[in-house]
Amino acid sequence: MPREAEPSINERAFILEALQENIRLDGRPLDAFRELHIAFGEEYGVADVQLGKTRVLCRISASIASPYPDRKFDGIFTITTELSPLASPAFEVGRQSDLETHLSRVLETTLRRSQALSTESLCLIAGQKVWSLRADIHILSHFGNLIDTSCIAALAALRHCRIPDTSIKGGVLIVYTPLERDPVPLALLHHPLCITLNYFESGEKMLVDATLQEQQCSEGEIVVSANPQGEVCLVQKGGGGEVDALVLLRGIGLAVGKVREVGKVIDRVLEEDAKRRDKGGVVSRELRAENER
């Protein structure tokens, strides 16, 4: 089983020495993200997120399926992650690594268990027909901080996604093509994001958006998921080193600030994309499926 190449003694010592002087290798402040670039595809529900050299593509696809017998009113929403050797030679095909399990669990908790996407809104006919939504996350290149990048990609894709409009007439389900009615956006109740904090010196120093090298040198990481309103959905600490409760609280505060910052970037690119797609005119206004609410 291939493993990520460990940094040498010299690199480790240098990174730690530089951190004591609050210097990072790429010259950013300790609490700064790398350059974030989000692009949407021609189709709805495709988001390509680049955070520095790390790149993740998320695609949302929807189909109509029958619901689980014990959850008749809930639609189906699954998140799948794929770490292919394309991203890093340390990834193997067909074997689920610890990183992949960790990544999918964090995303599952952040987006699904926090009820960011209301699965009830995906129900079409109770007990018979529901939307089955699938988020495919492809890691294209791995240079650190996969969790945050994947979460940004998944949330941006969900917010960008449109599913066909439907109606029920006399017990018959009608699915409209985009020509008949504009597709409708998903019912997202809130917009949570993950922020990974890598800590050093038992929490004295916390790094936001660590690169792969910094990740490998850190004592451990704290993953915080929160929404811009400041509601925390998940706090997870891994890595073994112990941290003080106050450090954890400080980390959560820091993460919430970052969630707001990244959320604003997503808002801006979504607005730009909507402007690009809006052809204007009375017809497009009249035919719009969404209402003022």
Binding site: A5, S8, I9, N10, F14, E17, A18, E21, G27
Partner: protein, 244 residues
């Protein structure tokens, strides 16, 4: 490397471009990126500038892609992975077969005075032999003289990744004239530093402080990724110098 013509894959190299050897008995040598199609056609298989060395009667295409494949006599920076009875197993590039460094292949090393290297130490070494079918063998001394010639363990400092073309340019005899690199001289005028360049795309830099080491590393990486010319390199160095 006097004239620079740009070639693309499939281009036929015209016979006028080929070097006229000073010594007629010297055969023409084709380097990477060129292919000989009998009887006398030479085509390129890569895109890049065509380089010609008249003295050696050699011709090749400079190209900045691909992974590092060990070649004999290349200077490389490797990481010690683990040690066995009398060999250190070193990784030249991640996820490839380990290179073997005999524990006695250091200057003045005997069974009692051989250096103790831990897992994760960096070494500057020369490739002794490399072939497709065996693990590469590296040494930290010149076998003909027994001297270290700057090779051995690299202590302290920091390792930076650069592209393989940049490493080749840095290792040229006339760095400024042939490689088009002036930034090391420019920095060297103001800050003292040590540097070791590995053909496997690694540079080790050591200087007085963290800031100075990072200055050299960042200037090299910026020059590499943005393909800066000599004047631009001087500007980058001045800008980074002001930040320190």
């Amino acid at each position: 490397m006097a004239t620079k013509t740009l070639v693309f894959p499939g281009d036929i190299i015209s016979p006028e471009v080929l070097p006229i050897p000073t010594n007629p008995s010297l055969p023409l040598k084709l380097g990477p990126g060129l292919r000989h199609v009998p009887p006398s056609t030479i085509t390129s298989t890569l895109a890049g500038p065509l380089c010609i060395d008249r003295k050696k009667n050699a011709i090749w295409v400079e190209n900045n892609t691909g992974r590092y494949i060990p070649q004999p006599n290349d200077l490389i920076i490797a990481t010690v992975h683990h040690s066995s009875t009398d060999i250190y197993h070193c990784s030249i590039t991640p996820h490839t077969a380990f290179a073997q460094l005999p524990q006695l292949a250091f200057e003045g090393a005997t069974k009692k005075t051989r250096p103790q290297l831990n897992s994760g130490s960096l070494i500057y070494a020369r490739i002794l032999s490399a072939s497709k079918h065996t693990d590469p063998e590296i040494v930290c001394y010149n076998p003909s003289t027994g001297k270290s010639e700057g090779m051995g363990e690299l202590k302290g400092g920091m390792l930076f990744d650069i592209s393989m073309a940049m490493a080749r340019r840095l290792l040229m005899h006339k760095q400024k004239a042939d490689g088009g690199i002036a930034l090391l001289e420019e920095i060297g005028g103001k800050v003292a530093f040590e540097i070791a360049v590995g053909r496997n795309g690694k540079v080790w830099v050591k200087s007085g402080g963290v800031n100075e080491t990072l200055l050299v590393g960042r200037a090299l990486q910026e020059t590499d990724t943005q393909g800066l010319g000599i004047e631009e390199q001087v500007k980058v160095v001045r800008r980074l110098m002001r930040q320190v």
